[in-house]
């Protein structure tokens, strides 16, 4: 309801703010250039340097995937009519959730790419439960990620199977839960607002404008996620790793939380998991299943794209379901806690 009010007051607002954000930007840039050498000295602390490098690394590494995601999102908005999507997807939501889970295998990117795509699918009339399933499945079970997992675990090929099954199960269970108890009003109105109908000949304009808008939207939240992950990378004490070595079952919750705070890209997380070689396979599977579903970088993107009301419900649910599915599948595939 507040959104309607905002809409009503909006037309007057831009005039007044017209100069402000540009001015802010210019002021920030000039100021930064002016204090550059001072800034260099202040940042010359090992921990800050490490944090700055990790922050830039996350941004540089994630941008190509975000760009891929917004281009696909733009293409869906411009070239895939909503009625085509409705025709392709099964009418039965349960079936559609299954289809969306398997369709996730077709997007060879990491989690940053799937957020704008899932949002665009919702906007084109795909039920939120189905889009949520795709959101969880795409970064976890695509061929690039599975091959990376196989390379990282040469001695435990079952890890690939376990990851595929556990992530697919997580996505489908989350989709079914959302279909049963999700409410449309949890998703921010701006995420679902339909674009103006495509007028003849302007498909290209819709494509570029959607991609540009999504990029500007998600980019800032990616920065928040990168900052958070970089800060936590520096702050998480190394003794955590030592503690899990000594306490068997504690490894599961600790690695689940580590997956959230480290925010390693789903194409690289298998190598991080492989490096924790003192641990059994099962907690490392938990790390691989939770990471692509929930991490600080994704939480920032979720809040920005779908709104806070969505993130507050989606994030804890996805976390619990991911841990549960990983433990269950791990016990079956590895034949116990090992």
């Amino acid at each position: 309801m507040t959104t309607v009010d905002e809409l009503a007051t909006e037309p007057a607002a831009p005039r007044r703010r017209r100069v402000t954000s540009l001015e802010v930007l210019c002021a920030v840039l000039v100021l930064a250039v002016a204090v550059q050498s001072w800034l260099g000295r202040v940042l010359d602390v090992p921990a800050l340097r490490t944090g700055a490098t990790v922050f830039v690394a996350i941004c540089v590494q994630a941008m190509p995937f975000l760009v891929l995601g917004v281009l696909i999102s733009g293409a869906i908005a411009a070239f895939v009519p909503a009625r085509l999507l409705r025709r392709v997807l099964p009418r039965n939501t349960t079936l559609a959730v299954g289809v969306a889970g398997l369709a996730g295998a077709a997007l060879p990117g990491c989690e940053c790419a799937s957020v704008p795509v899932a949002r665009r699918l919702m906007q084109q009339g795909v039920p939120p439960a189905v889009a949520v399933t795709f959101l969880l499945a795409a970064p976890a079970i695509n061929p690039v990620v599975l091959v990376a997992t196989a390379v990282a675990f040469p001695t435990a090929p079952r890890m690939v199977l376990a990851r595929l099954l556990a992530s697919l199960l997580t996505a489908v269970v989350m989709g079914l839960v959302w279909a049963r108890s999700g409410r449309p009003e949890w998703i921010a109105e701006r995420a679902l607002r339909a674009l103006p109908a495509v007028r003849g000949g302007s498909r290209w304009a819709v494509f570029t404008e959607t991609a540009r808008g999504d990029l500007a939207d998600a980019g800032g939240f990616l920065v928040i996620g990168g900052l958070t992950a970089a800060t936590l990378t520096v702050l998480v004490p190394a003794s955590w790793y030592g503690a899990v070595d000594r306490n068997g079952l504690l490894a599961i919750p600790v690695l689940a939380v580590l997956a959230v705070v480290l925010a390693v890209c789903s194409e690289a997380d298998a190598f991080v998991a492989a490096s924790l070689s003192a641990l059994p396979l099962l907690p490392r599977l938990v790390f691989l299943v939770v990471g692509p579903a929930v991490d600080v970088k994704l939480i920032a993107l979720h809040v920005g794209t779908f709104g806070r009301a969505f993130a507050v419900r989606f994030v804890p649910a996805a976390f619990v379901i991911a841990v549960g599915c990983a433990v269950l599948v791990g016990l079956c595939v590895f034949g116990g806690y090992r």
Binding site: S21, L29, V54, A57, P64, P196, C265, G304
Partner: protein, 246 residues
């Protein structure tokens, strides 16, 4: 929700795209991501600039032609609505890259990681023999893996040449290198202890080329599989362009 002007968002996208192009052109992208990411980062930078410049050009054309119909105006308002203040945060990576240009990860990351070890058990415990010759160059991760798991003892009595940077930790001296699989956020340290005093004077993060011989049995589970090298000679070298192993 406070709106951000379209033009501001476009300028920021151009700046971010420019920053991505800059680091791929001057090679500093190797401090942050693996070499194979280069074309992707380049394409991402170009796409960002094209999208933003195209949008700026379209706005200017529309403005000049003065035929912004009510319909168009509405579209633009949507843009405003979407453009939450968060887009301004894109200035942070821009400033970080253009002004600070953070260095590659170094000694701080190694001491921070403490007991984390990237040496995964290898199933076939036999390795291809080292090439013949004196002071064979070998990567730190290859060297450590062999020192722990190689049943054929290919390192025994062989002088090898290792490249890495200096780390002082708990009174001991190490030669270290970080291994990344995607970007610097997933870096895992590799380190060997240096024995023999020849490198004692070097400061943290100084890059060295060390020739030396493995002390057999020095890499144990108790010390986190950190082998010790008896140093023969040490040469200080400038930091390499690609600071990580992959």
């Amino acid at each position: 929700m406070s709106a951000v002007r379209r033009e501001t968002a476009n300028i920021l996208l151009v700046l971010v795209g420019g920053a991505l192009l800059k680091i791929t052109m001057n090679g500093t992208y190797l401090r942050y991501v693996k070499p194979t990411a280069k074309p992707w980062v380049l394409v991402a930078g170009v796409v960002m600039i094209v999208l933003a410049v195209g949008s700026i050009a379209g706005d200017i054309r529309a403005g000049r032609a003065g035929r912004r119909t009510q319909d168009h105006e509405q579209d633009h308002d949507h843009g405003h609505q979407h453009g939450s203040r968060s887009v301004l945060l894109l200035v942070l990576p821009v400033l970080a890259i253009f002004l600070i240009a953070p260095p590659a990860l170094g000694a701080d990351s190694v001491t921070r990681a403490d007991s984390r070890s990237a040496v995964a058990p290898v199933e076939q415990a036999s390795f291809p023999p080292l090439p013949a010759g004196r002071a064979v160059p070998i990567g730190l991760s290859d060297f450590i893996t062999r020192s722990v798991w190689d049943s054929t003892n290919s390192l025994t009595d062989r002088t090898v040449r290792l490249t890495g940077f200096v780390v002082h930790d708990n009174g001991a001296l190490y030669l270290a290198r970080l291994v990344i699989s995607c970007c610097a956020a997933d870096a895992t340290p590799m380190k060997v202890a240096l024995a023999g005093g020849a490198a004692g004077g070097a400061a943290d993060n100084q890059w060295l080329e060390v020739t030396g011989v493995l002390r057999p049995g020095s890499a144990t589970q108790a010390n986190g599989y950190t082998p010790t090298v008896s140093v023969v000679s040490v040469t200080e070298i400038p930091a390499p362009a690609d600071p990580y192993e992959y």
